[in-house]
Symmetry: C2
Subunit: 431 residues, 2 copies
């Protein structure tokens, strides 16, 4: 790829939309310069505004196969656990070709919706027991769609605390810590370290013992890799940990581990505010998935603990709906509905939209260890182009354009994305 230049009508530079900005992209796909056009100006993307590409911090791409499923309740009310049975049925049925197709569909929809990096929390490893055949399929699909991926390679050893794996869970099995790292290193050699990188991800306290989690975490620190884990999405998980460890999962993690900035706890729906404050003040970050948490009836987390910049991110999780702008606004709306006031996630200057955008850009980049989230030299040229001619944005002044996009528009206003400077128009065929 040769150096190229990108110019839109408006460009989001550190908190403001500016006109007349040219972004120069180097041959490796990073931004080389941001500023006024020099000499021969590049053609302008008319009627578009550029934002940093959205980062989807937590995805299970294969669950795209459940689109529209699991919404029947002939036996009365359902729960996360009954939904999990539907998901395990899908897991049981998947072959390599279907998985490949589902991943392409999910990643294609993500780019259509403005996502340029996905943190794929990947626990569906095996076609045949122990073969890890599905790991490369996910990476392959991401490469085909041209989405940047951080494969959060999951460690999955127990069916619940201290219990063996059962049924569909066997497709998730990691044989041992040694076996896990052997596969991890094989994948690490196969990825390019730029468009594809690896993270470390014990699935949850249900699927990994505290000792294993500690060993995995220490190794992730040593290797300077992101470390992700599901934490306290369901009250059942908290209760199981109370019974086994005498503490909630987040408390057990804070007690056992030297929490640092590479630790992302996903969900934290039922996390005690004191545990949350302890985790955050140690540098840990949290990832919420509002649409999935709404669909699964998880609940609304308490986000009243002080959130440092970059400590909050967003994920599409089950991919039942892929719409980061919708996730952003419902992140704030959940807090508003919970507390019956407005402006829950306002930044230091009282602005909410900047916090929501930061969660989908800076926060996600931080959680995944990717140099993205800002339109600035040295960062990846990962951008989303918003269609200023979308009726939802008509007659909106520039000073409240970000608010209009995040609170008042959606996927239909996304014109396309750049990943490493390569353009893909929304609606381009992907599967």
């Amino acid at each position: 790829m040769s150096p190229s230049a990108i110019q839109a009508e408006l460009t989001w530079i550190d908190g403001t939309f500016l006109p007349g900005i040219q972004i120069t992209v180097g041959p490796g796909g990073r931004i080389e310069a941001v500023g006024a056009p020099e000499e021969a100006p590049s053609p302008i993307l008319r009627g578009t505004a550029l934002l940093p590409g959205f980062v989807n911090t937590h995805s299970h791409a294969f669950q795209r196969g459940l689109r529209g499923a699991g919404e029947d309740f002939p036996a009365g009310a359902g729960s996360f656990w009954s939904w999990r049975e539907a998901m395990y049925s899908l897991v049981d049925s998947l072959d390599a070709d279907t998985l490949h197709r589902l991943c392409r569909q999910a990643f294609g929809e993500m780019r259509d919706a403005g996502i340029t990096t996905v943190g794929e929390f990947h626990y569906l490893h095996h076609r045949e027991p122990g073969d890890f055949a599905f790991d490369e399929i996910v990476l392959q699909a991401a490469a085909e769609v041209g989405i940047r991926i951080v494969l959060l390679q999951a460690y999955y050893a127990t069916g619940s605390i201290g219990k063996p794996l059962e049924g569909a869970q066997r497709r998730f099995a990691t044989p041992s810590l040694e076996g896990y790292w052997r596969q991890w290193e094989r994948l690490d050699l196969a990825t390019d370290g730029a468009t594809q990188t690896l993270g470390v991800a014990p699935h949850s306290v249900r699927a990994a013992g505290l000792g294993e989690i500690r060993e995995l975490y220490e190794e992730a620190i040593r290797r300077r890799r992101p470390f992700h884990m599901h934490v306290e999405e369901q009250r059942g998980e908290v209760e199981q940990a109370m019974a086994a460890y005498g503490r909630a999962p987040m408390a057990a993690l804070c007690d056992s581990l030297d929490i640092a900035g590479n630790f992302t706890a996903v969900h934290c729906t039922h996390t005690d505010p004191r545990d949350m404050a302890r985790f955050l003040s140690a540098g840990g970050t949290i990832c919420l998935c509002p649409a999935t948490e709404g669909n699964l009836g998880d609940g609304i987390p308490d986000l009243s603990s002080p959130l440092a910049s970059g400590s909050l991110s967003l994920g599409s999780d089950s991919n039942l709906r892929i719409a980061p702008v919708e996730e952003m606004r419902w992140l704030e709306y959940g807090q508003r509905l919970r507390g019956e006031f407005r402006g829950a996630l306002a930044d230091g200057r009282g602005r909410v939209a900047t916090t929501l955008l930061a969660a989908a850009t800076v926060g996600g980049s931080h959680a995944l260890g990717v140099e993205g989230g800002r339109i600035a030299p040295g960062h990846w040229a990962d951008l989303v182009a918003v269609d200023l001619r979308a009726p939802a944005l008509a007659d909106v002044p520039a000073e409240r354009l970000l608010e209009a996009i995040l609170f008042g528009s959606g996927n239909e206003a996304i014109a396309g994305t750049y990943v490493g400077g390569r353009w893909r128009e929304t609606g381009a065929p992907s599967a």
Copy 2:
């Protein structure tokens, strides 16, 4: 308009998507026949599925002018009441041309998003004091966009219980019951009774006394018109009514009025479940506005009372975001988040999506007194065409297509709408 025929790949007929259905539209814009194509089949809308057009039961179109506004909180957390100040500023600033443009934008976005009928809860009456000049502007804009409208002409007499109108509220003023009905009858003569009809709408117990509400309601019953009112959106309103009447607004209404099927209570966020059950069992219906209620930090209502078919509807309210599919799923998600279980609004057979679609079609038609909401002879030929080639719907089997649309897609999957058999493609210019 001459009779015409519409045929899509799939058509939603009373709970199922069926292929090979032709809809014949009569010259007046009603459906004349639904069935297998006869003789010369009509051209098929390839790659689309038809649903009954969505009914937006509660809208304030002029608030489109707040798109992206009111989301700054420099003084700390905000509330419904601080947002209302921003809305009143807009009211103060509006002239006729701006109002006309805002209404065209809002109604155009509605058609783009699949809405074919709007219940416009209209209280912004006056350009100059007492002139009611803005009423016709709203009707005119709806006619230009080709959206069916039920103008819910609002009665607005007090600033809060027993208090005079202040500031911007003067643009809402209805001079007296007699003056209200005089203008109502003038408008009723000016509307065609088909694409445009009228309803009766005391704004709330804040803006109308109980005696006035009773008189308005009895007259609405006599005239067989829908009757809408904001009820218990905010705790402050409940507290004011407790102080003035010794009862919450819903209890006061149930005590004072002989509630019937033409009464739609909008919001009911803080309604006591016993009052709600009493209101619903008398035949009253409720309208929820999930996106606005989320944005305004109202709270999540308790919908555990039995809901008869057609007793629930949905509105875009502030029009900060116009996306009925998003509203449908978040109606259910709100209940799931509140109760921490799934399937809150399941119908008698355990299906949630049918309840959500009914709220946006049958329920809205019932609340607005419009013969719509079903694809059946005698009903208006108001339809929404869903794009089956949208990536969000790829590889979804027909038996879960409705669930995939409602839980997994959005505005970007809406191909266009028919109102009275007249087609408008999503994205067509409207303003």
